[in-house]
């Protein structure tokens, strides 16, 4: 159930893409180009003979002229397969199928061998697919070699053993030990049985055929249905291994059904609507993107195109959007599923319902005129009662010749959604500013088709009123789906109002006093935009009317904050401004000359000191005259000089530790020599005093 539901959803998706709930287009050129895209041979040949057959068959059905030339390589692999002793019936079957289109020559001896081989395979078959391939192969070789002597030995026996796989609900099993029944297998079985009947040397028992017909109608009881009237077969997904999907399953049933109908006399008693429903299913899926699905679709449609049960005719519209202003005429085309011409017939418009009210038809029944040149049925002027809007038109197809009614199926009535569009007249558009007493303060006419630049200013006590009138081409009032007034503040906060139509006129009154809260008390410039649009309005518009400068009161404490606005993505990224580090400025220093001048000044006291000493008349008369004290005196002064020199070196290069180390040695030396010389001097001076 979930599966069919999901399938339905997908299907409804396709349908909604088609745009019309029950509008099906026959196969067209888009299918042809899709086919050429899907079936592209790899280096001049397809991967397998099955694929070759599918491609050739699709090209044949679609009548594609410029198909890739694969006949030579196909014939080579066909004759290889047919000639090979190890080929299984399945290989032979697809080789013969491909050959039915490629039409390569098979020599007499090979075909003789194949017939014996397939006949033996029929005898030894014990599953449905075995029968399918071997019987199918025999049918194909019979057609291709036009030999009358190809027939099954024990037709009825084979028939019965295939029939043994059938189930009471019309579905079939693949083999006797597989309890699962499927509609896919039913299609295969029908095709096999049709083959058996055509290979029969004698008449098959009519009662057997009748029970089979019964099975078919039972199978059709289990058909599933979409909302839009298309019908399909689907198998329940049990283990997923043999599950084929609705398209393959339906396609298999259609192939089996048409093959069976082709070989049996008498009618199958299937309602034509079911065949039409199947045709709609195949047309509704558009062009599948999978080669296998595509082949299934095209092949099934080809089977439906020339079947003996009933040939579906599809009513389609080149355009379901009609313009009243351009006076478009209603055109209807009736084709077979593959797009070829239908027999003589008349298309009648039996009703037109507005999408709003479904009960009363707006038009009387009338015939559409057939144009033989283009093959289109035309209604030139839409009835006066049809105004712009969306409608459902109901068509009926009446075949001219009564015997065609047995061959073709048209469906009782076809409902088609139609959009009738037109230019809508916009009149009496104006924008009015009222004050709180109801007096008009400013009034401006608007031309909604052209440019407007209204500039208003208002405060919270005033009201802004915008009104306009819409008229359809037929002169009725028109209500569009979209009638929105947008006020956009400088800060990009938007406020949207629906313009209602209480009467004939569209009008909206913005009472700013009521709206201050909604406007977040944001004063400033508001741009006004009006959007009027509808699916059937050809001149839908989005107009900037101008702006209004609003002066709103200050927000109270608990006023709501305006919501955050999204940041522009382009400004969010991007390089930042470069940053240079500002370094600390170096200290201010005097010029070098000034320093040198002051250096000179600092020397002056020393010079003054020296000059002073000379003026005082200093002498060295007290210097010891004896050798030992004189030596200590000299050493003492050399020591002092060394300490001072050490200071100079400390300034120039030495560090504190080196200096202290040297100073330590010098200090000890100085203390020793200093003590000697100073005690000597003290001794001489005390001697002097005592003397």
């Amino acid at each position: 159930m979930a599966r069919s539901l999901a399938g339905f959803l997908v299907f409804s998706l396709f349908v909604s893409i088609c745009g019309a709930a029950s509008l099906f287009q026959p196969i067209s050129d888009s299918h042809r180009s899709a086919a050429l895209e899907l079936f592209t041979p790899d280096h001049g040949s397809f991967k397998s003979l099955e694929e070759t057959y599918e491609a050739l068959r699709t090209f044949e059905v679609l009548g594609i002229e410029k198909k890739p030339d694969v006949t030579a390589s196909a014939c080579r692999s066909i004759s290889e397969t047919l000639g090979s002793p190890s080929s299984t019936p399945k290989d032979l079957f697809y080789a013969l199928k491909a050959n039915s289109i490629a039409k390569c020559r098979i020599n007499e001896k090979t075909s003789e061998g194949i017939i014996t081989k397939l006949n033996a395979a029929v005898g030894g078959a014990n599953s449905l697919l075995d029968f399918y391939y071997s019987v199918g192969g025999l049918v194909l070789i019979k057609d291709q070699t036009s030999r009358a002597d190809v027939h099954l030995a024990d037709t009825e026996g084979v028939f019965r053993s295939v029939k043994a796989f059938s189930q009471s609900d019309g579905r079939w099993r693949y083999s006797s030990n597989n309890p699962e029944s499927s509609a896919f297998a039913a299609g295969i079985a029908l095709e096999t049985l049709a083959g058996i009947i055509s290979l029969a040397s004698s008449e098959i028992d009519q009662s057997l055929i009748n029970t089979l017909k019964n099975d078919i109608s039972k199978l059709f009881d289990s058909i599933e249905k979409y909302d839009d009237g298309s019908l399909y077969f689907d198998d329940k997904l049990v283990d997923g291994r043999e599950y084929q999907g609705p398209l393959s399953t339906t396609s298999s049933v259609v192939r089996g059904l048409t093959a069976f109908a082709a070989v049996t006399a008498g009618s199958l008693n299937l309602p034509g609507d079911k065949i039409l429903g199947l045709a709609k299913f195949f047309l509704g899926i558009e062009a599948p993107g999978d080669a296998k699905d595509f082949f299934n679709q095209i092949d099934s449609l080809a089977c439906l195109e020339n079947n003996r049960v009933s040939i579906p005719l599809i009513l389609s519209l080149p355009s379901s959007v009609l313009s009243l202003t351009k006076k478009d005429s209603l055109k209807v085309r009736v084709n077979t599923v593959l797009g070829s011409n239908a027999p003589p017939l008349t298309v009648k418009l039996v009703g037109a319902y507005s999408s709003g009210s479904k009960d009363t038809s707006l038009v009387e029944t009338q015939d559409l005129k057939f144009e033989a040149g283009t093959g289109v049925h035309i209604l030139n002027n839409l009835p006066k009662t049809i105004d712009v809007g969306s409608y459902t038109f109901v068509f009926e197809i009446v075949l001219h010749e009564s015997e065609h009614e047995k061959i073709y199926v048209t469906g009782s009535q076809t409902k088609v959604p139609i959009f009738v569009t037109g230019l809508i007249k916009i009149e009496n558009a104006e924008i009015v500013l009222d004050n709180d007493l109801g007096n008009v303060e400013a009034q401006k006419k608007l031309d909604l088709a052209g440019q407007n630049a209204v500039s208003l200013s208002a405060n919270h006590l005033q009201k802004l009123r915008l009104s306009f009138q819409l008229t359809t081409p037929r002169g009725h009032a028109f209500k569009p789906h979209q009638a929105l007034l947008k006020l956009r503040h400088e800060s990009k906060i938007e406020h949207i109002f629906v313009v209602g139509n209480p009467g004939k006129k569209f009008e909206i009154v913005l009472d700013f006093l009521q709206l201050v809260d909604k406007f977040f008390y944001l004063s400033g410039r508001y741009d006004i935009e009006l959007a009027v649009g509808d699916a059937v309005m050809e001149n839908s518009l989005l107009q900037a009317i101008g702006h209004v400068e609003l002066d709103l009161p200050e927000p109270p404490e608990k006023a709501p904050r305006p919501p955050a606005q999204p940041v522009d993505p382009y400004s969010r990224y991007g390089p930042k401004a470069e940053i240079e580090h500002i370094f600390r400025a170096p200290d201010k220093r005097p010029p070098k000359e000034l320093s040198l001048a002051f250096l000179g000044l600092t020397i002056l006291p020393l010079l003054g000191f020296l000059v002073g000493l000379l003026r005082l008349g200093v002498n060295l008369k007290n210097f010891p005259t004896k050798a030992a004290p004189a030596l200590f005196g000299i050493l003492f002064h050399v020591g002092i000089g060394a300490v001072l020199l050490l200071y100079v070196f400390f300034w120039l290069k030495l560090d504190l530790f080196q200096t202290l180390k040297l100073l330590g040695f010098l200090g000890v030396f100085l203390v020793f020599v200093g003590h000697r010389i100073l005690s000597h001097l003290a001794g001489t001076s005390s001697k002097l005093k005592s003397a």
Binding site: V10, G19, H481, I579, L620
Partner: protein, 437 residues
């Protein structure tokens, strides 16, 4: 025997990342993609899109969304690099997949494509909400545009939109301009203004609105104008990329092949922009474009090549980094003029744009500020559509040592002179004082 088994398992677990051709930081393009579908018919109806992915080397694994056997991870390892949710109507995922599972899948750096549709299920909406976009809450609403719809013979309700308001980013949409409008039919969404990671790739026109086309509009639509996003992308902080669109049919074969004519425009394009748009954006989402890596971050003093352990204030240094962009098959040099480096301690002291040599090498030189402390070289590179680069390297900066200051300052000569003249005076005075009579 047990020991061998342990070694075998260990070996396999080490080799596994190399054995399976999958996502790694060295080759960031996704490889294994799980596609969850509502129905296998989508596989055929959207085959052009899937084929374009397959032809680019992706390994697509198609599963029904309610398949009971699907799983994103097994034994803590993710089985896929990316997830495509083409299942707008799924009510509940099958297997072990659920909302939290999908979010942690993205949180661990994997990519996601979500395509919703009209009547999208709640679980799909929730996934989108977690990614920062909100689909219109009205389940029957569609994006309607009466001024920039796609002209169609059969399509009358203006829900088939020709969108051409693309994001201006070559990295997201490719360098080739998308000329034809993109067909869109589905639901719109809005971006969460607080989320700075989500970007609008395709916006609706200013006249668009989101409403139910079949019923009358009585209240203002919740989404209008170009605030409606038709297609959005998210690049998470861990560089996981997410694509969100409200239309699954924009990826369909039908839209890929269909011609397009925007209402009011005389040009009729033979082919819609959908194929180019979806292909290009999937290249971005699956990291075939816009994925950057930075290697060989180097810094040293001017004139040296060795990287020092620390810098002294006022040193001149050179900084260089190599940046490459993944092209889907190889790392190509990344060329841009806006990569910047910061010399950072609590706030950037220096911010400089790096110059590049067009081969991926970005370099600059500057002087270390005269502030000491522990600094960082920081490259915080964020650009629209590119993965962000965030590099930082710590480096201490020391002040001058005592002997690194200037030794003989001319301004101090008077002081020196005074001291030395004093010393000379003392020396002379010592003679005078001791020996003068």
């Amino acid at each position: 025997m047990g020991k061998f088994w342990v070694i075998f398992v260990a070996l396999i677990s080490i080799l596994l990342p190399f054995l399976c051709n999958s996502f790694s930081p060295e080759t960031p393009t996704d490889r294994r993609v799980l596609v969850l579908l509502d129905d296998f018919a989508i596989k055929s109806s959207h085959s052009l899109y899937f084929n374009s992915l397959k032809s680019r080397g992706f390994d697509l694994d198609f599963k029904l969304a309610d398949d009971p056997n699907i799983a994103l991870q097994r034994y803590g390892q993710y089985l896929y690099d990316a997830l495509i949710l083409f299942c707008p109507s799924v009510e509940r995922f099958g297997g072990s997949v659920d909302l939290a599972g999908i979010l942690s899948f993205v949180d661990s750096g994997h990519d996601l494509i979500i395509a919703a549709d009209a009547n999208a299920s709640d679980v799909i909406r929730e996934v989108a909400t977690e990614c920062g976009v909100d689909f219109d809450e009205d389940h029957s609403a569609m994006v309607i545009d009466h001024t920039s719809y796609a002209v169609s013979e059969t399509e009358g309700d203006h829900t088939l939109i020709a969108g051409d308001d693309f994001i201006k980013s070559d990295v997201i949409l490719g360098s080739k301009k998308i000329n034809a409008p993109v067909l869109f039919k589905g639901i719109g969404h809005s971006l969460n203004p607080a989320n700075s990671l989500v970007l609008k790739v395709l916006s609706a026109s200013p006249a668009a609105y989101s409403a139910n086309p079949k019923s009358k509009l009585s209240t203002p639509p919740s989404l209008t104008g170009s605030a409606i996003s038709l297609v959005s992308v998210v690049q998470a902080r861990n560089n996981a990329r997410v694509l969100i669109t409200g239309s699954i049919s924009m990826f369909s074969n039908r839209f890929f092949r269909s011609g397009v004519q925007k209402a009011g425009s005389p040009t009729k394009h033979e082919k819609s922009g959908n194929e180019q748009f979806s292909t290009e954006i999937s290249k971005w989402v699956f990291h075939e474009r816009g994925h950057l890596k930075a290697v060989n971050v180097k810094h040293h003093k001017v004139g040296e090549t060795e990287e020092p352990a620390l810098y002294r204030i006022n040193d001149d240094l050179e900084y260089s980094v190599e940046i490459y962009e993944w092209s889907g098959t190889s790392w190509e040099p990344y060329v841009a003029g806006d990569v910047q480096v910061q010399f950072y301690m609590m706030s950037p002291y220096v911010l400089k744009t790096l110059s590049n040599n067009k081969k991926g090498l970005y370099s600059t030189s500057f002087k270390v500020p005269d502030v000491y402390g522990v600094f960082q070289f920081k490259v915080e590179y964020q650009k629209l559509g590119y993965t962000s680069l965030s590099l930082s390297k710590q480096i201490p900066v020391r002040p001058y040592r005592h002997n690194e200051y200037e030794r003989f300052i001319p301004a101090a000569y008077p002081y020196y002179g005074a001291a030395f003249s004093m010393m000379a005076g003392f020396f002379i005075f010592s003679f005078v004082h001791l020996y003068s009579k």
